[in-house]
Subunit: 371 residues, 4 copies
């Protein structure tokens, strides 16, 4: 039996189990937006690293040698020798800890209305006392000019002391629409942020997929232009783990205590340290991204070949297509279960298809037959 992990489409997650080409069962999952890269455990190399180090006596809370080694390797990969690196468990937790740690109590964080923190984190940012100040998105991205205008308008407003101060800019890269910032765009955002002494935070939950796509933004450039970002592990093949990188010697004092206070300090920090140490050995992290992008290219070819219409041009692992509702019905009857990403118009629907570090050629072949 084989799992077609690609059939996690739209807002609802769906796994189509097939055997020898025929569909045997379909499992409807409660959520899918972020599930797709989660359907396998960890990449075998990471599992192996955990096994190899398992019997070794190591100290806790991230003071072990693997964690230290991972930090060094990330410093090298980011060309940021003074980077301050901390490993946390998951994305929402990381966003909450970083944003709460950097903001003053009366400050909020600027984000696109489609930003993960604005929509799909159950109010984790507000729980820590901060408002998410949303701006319109442009295929998932913030426009630097609009951020600038927002900040300028805020400080020009005679009432601004009665309002939430913009204290940080949050972007995701790739965005929730699979799109990427260009070096030019990130530079503009960075310039505005520094002009107003507001940190720029890049949510890299899917960063590996961005780095492997056609882009002029590599890790050192991202480290240079942001104040803090994180390198997503969970969506790139780790069991758990995200690496927070403060790039400007700006890690808040007593950050360990802040992490602990948020319930986010892992006793066996080694679990994440060992995986990131392996991620940044022999380019594994980058290779996994490349594999998924390669699969996404194939996926795009299949979709083009079959005449599907793209909702937007995404250079990463997430692809969005527009289907006629009747076409969607037919596909559903043929075995494709679907759900809405969003309505396109009266007669059309946008759905999402995504590849990941674990997508196989078999997955794609099966999909080709079905479409």
């Amino acid at each position: 039996m084989m799992v077609l992990s690609l059939f996690i489409i739209g807002h609802m997650g769906l796994f189509v189990y097939t055997q020898k080409g025929s569909i045997t069962s379909i499992v409807v999952l409660p959520t899918t937006e972020i599930i797709e890269p989660y359907n396998k455990g960890a990449h075998p190399d990471l599992i192996e690293a955990l096994i190899v180090s398992n019997e070794e006596g190591l100290s806790g809370y991230g003071s072990d040698r693997y964690t230290q080694s991972a930090i060094e390797k990330i410093r090298q990969a980011t060309a940021c020798p003074h980077a301050q690196v901390t490993f946390l468990a998951g994305g929402t937790q990381t966003n909450q800890v970083v944003i709460d740690a950097l903001l003053q109590s009366y400050e909020g964080v600027i984000a696109a209305e489609t930003g993960h923190i604005a929509s799909h984190e159950a109010g984790a940012i507000e729980y820590s006392g901060h408002k998410v100040l949303t701006l319109p998105h442009h295929e998932g991205k913030l426009k630097a000019a609009e951020v600038k205008n927002y900040i300028e308008t805020f400080f020009a407003d005679a009432n601004h002391e009665h309002m939430v101060f913009p204290g940080m800019v949050y972007i995701s890269h790739p965005t929730e629409y699979g799109t990427l910032y260009t070096k030019e765009e990130l530079t503009q955002l960075s310039t505005i942020c520094h002009q107003y002494s507001i940190p720029l935070f890049l949510d890299g939950a899917r960063l590996g997929y961005a780095l492997a796509a056609e882009t002029d933004l590599d890790l050192p450039t991202i480290a240079g232009l942001t104040d803090v970002f994180y390198i997503g592990g969970t969506k790139l093949g780790a069991l758990i783990g995200e690496a927070v990188v403060f790039t400007k010697k700006n890690q808040p004092r007593n950050f360990v205590t802040i992490v602990k206070q948020h319930g986010a300090l892992l006793a066996k920090g080694r679990v994440v340290g060992v995986q990131f140490d392996r991620f940044f050995t022999n380019n594994l992290y980058f290779d996994l991204g490349k594999k998924a992008i390669g699969m996404a290219t194939q996926l795009k070819d299949i979709l083009k070949e079959k005449g599907y219409r793209f909702f937007l041009e995404s250079p990463t692992n997430q692809q969005f297509i527009v289907l006629e509702n009747r076409q969607l019905e037919r596909l559903a009857q043929a075995g494709l279960v679907y759900s809405f990403w969003e309505k396109f118009d009266q007669d059309h629907t946008v759905i999402r298809l995504a590849t990941s570090w674990s997508t196989s050629q078999e997955d794609l072949d099966a999909l080709r037959q079905l479409l």
Copy 2:
């Protein structure tokens, strides 16, 4: 090279690396209070379970079949068929989520002054808005009569509307002093809590060691007498993971969202589910506890044989001894590095020695030679 994990003594963590009986290096760790069971990764059986399930396509956020199986097994082991079970990553996180989820905003949680939430969680409970209402400890335990008196005095106080309402009773079992509640004591606490409609929460970070000790409190009894408790995984040999058990159909509505809001929802919930599924297969969880208690019995024998004086009688894996300061100095010169658990008097010091699921016979033999 061998790690003498036992030499994590007192408040400061110390690992003494030895080779063929001679000490090769000593690593001072920043903290030790809870480190000791963390110095190895995971029990091999848990690692194996992760490997076996790794390639299997599973849905996220704890909706996978291993997690469901683990829940069923915990329902059986607790003889609580309607138990509501959720898996979280670590102890402080679990305490924060459970306490915040159950308390009204104006309520606090009663705990012994030595309780983990009162002292070693960096204010995680206060971060969620709640006061920890401390009572004196008796070898780490709360006295039911004192809890009763506190609650009665509170409600009798004409000013009580200006004070923090007691909204929960928190106990740890084993306590931070390695001691255990008796069935009689837990029944008394349970009776008081139910009389005042206040949930009783048992922190079982080290629960496996309690269940394996000489005790009249088994899992079903604990489930029956408490409203919520958790079964500690991290200290018993898991990579990460604690199992929260609501025993009275009293899990707060939309608990998943509460967990997510605290940044505690694991994308790959399978990581913990798989481990607990294995923990509760063929009694592994109980066996690991038994092994540590067996080692602790040997440790006690060694200590008695060598004439050491016990600070208190602990039936579990943590042992506390009182040393003359000069004796401690001599041991230090002989290779034993130490730090204070607490001062006993002018001339004496209390230190802690602990066994765990990973303590080996070699560890104990090496210790015997050194003492």
Copy 3:
């Protein structure tokens, strides 16, 4: 010397002091959005009530006889004999306490994007841990159909457990644009809220001005259709004070303690109780509203007579007009200092003029001359 309180225009507050028709000085205030009804102290009748009761020995925290009497009178005025009434100091505080007290931790409050809680309360709602879920405004109002659609879409979303639950609907009446809900509109909102067991909260900071305008919503109808609302005192002539009214026996348990915990419990509760007792004696509260509406009618006549263009039709004390930028310049040169409420288009600007309980005929006459 006379104060032209009307010249508080746009976002920036401005007081033009005149003497015998000529402007003597202009004071620029840091903020004006809500200042206008604050430029005088209290209505003389309220001051008198404070003087008369001043020497009387009374108990604290709202347990005095004036507060009790005020509660009884509000119960009568709202035709809600079981209403639970609490007096607080100001509007932002009231919104924070009520919303935090009624919401579950994982719930947010739906509001128009122009709602006071969404824009001008410095993140007081987020400080208490809750997200403000904004919907588009229609001249300051929420549309029932859009609220219904938001809630239905939320629960239909397979991802909704990862999102902030809508736990309350907040409206202001009059709105920030001076507009009013009709009985039909409020009934629709009420129906949706009850259908989803979500409380409907009406912010009545300016309620007196709504009740005195042409409207089919009187106090008993508002009490019947909402779950909680407040009767604004500060903007209607009190020194401080707002009356929170829970209409469905739905005041949260231990509400006094919740109020205290928010730092909002007044030691000398009498200060507000005495004023509201007087507000609801011989219809003072309603008469003050009527006076302001009468003045607003005159203001509208002056503006129409002078040919000004209205931005929207407001039946209450706040009036919004659209000026050509050059016209605004001329008025500025003639002594009218201005600031933007909002840009209308390239060549036009919206400004706000407001009357209040303390506006005098002289104020209006002076304004007529200046325009």
Copy 4:
């Protein structure tokens, strides 16, 4: 009819109404700890100042000329020309805002276990996310040596990153036991705080009574030795109002926004500004304190004369006496209704009697007869 405000005894508030020497009625109040100075409205001079300024057009949020004048007068009275002064409504609110504004998220505030923030503020400090770190009290006071020891032990603890950092020292002056710090004691506390860069915060809810007692601590000395303190208005005869004074140019940035975010910004800031402007005109604030201390001296004389035993030596307006339980019963039968401050021993009870700015000679004469 006359109110014997003195008969607010112990934890429960009691007003004994008498007419021509005979008791006509007894009103039991829900709370009394802090009620006593609240039973009258405001001092007539403050009322008069409110009346005189009432018709004057003034800007809001504390930008009015009375507030500015009050700030100047407080700068003079404290001999602190750069003092930053903000007026808030009440004591709990003030403690919450100041402590939350100055602490880092991971810091707590050291206080005596009897400190108001530790016991009678309904968890307002914890609501803002911070732990109150309690130390034993010595007649209500903190001992500098114990504070020093606490801080040193904290930083020496290898686990301290897992604990709440001490980020501030809070004292009340007078304390909850009516006692006063000496200049020597305050200097010691100040020295320790500055040594560890931790602000020293003095809660002056009853400060006027301290300044009028026999003491070597005047306002300038207090301003010099603390980092922030507040001058209590409500307990000294204001309707509402406390003056927060930052003495070291250390008011947090955007403090107005922080105040607003806590729901504590008064629209008509003039209400408090006018009263404090009057408080600090012709020494009114000091005179009211002196009057109460004069009455307290008489009260002590009466108590001594009648042979009552003092629980402790209090130099301020609060007096604590120890009564035999049988004696208390007799007094109760004679009309004195009582409640416990605390148990002294099996046979004795401590009760509190307090004078205030509004205590009259008649009150004392009536009391003398009754005792």
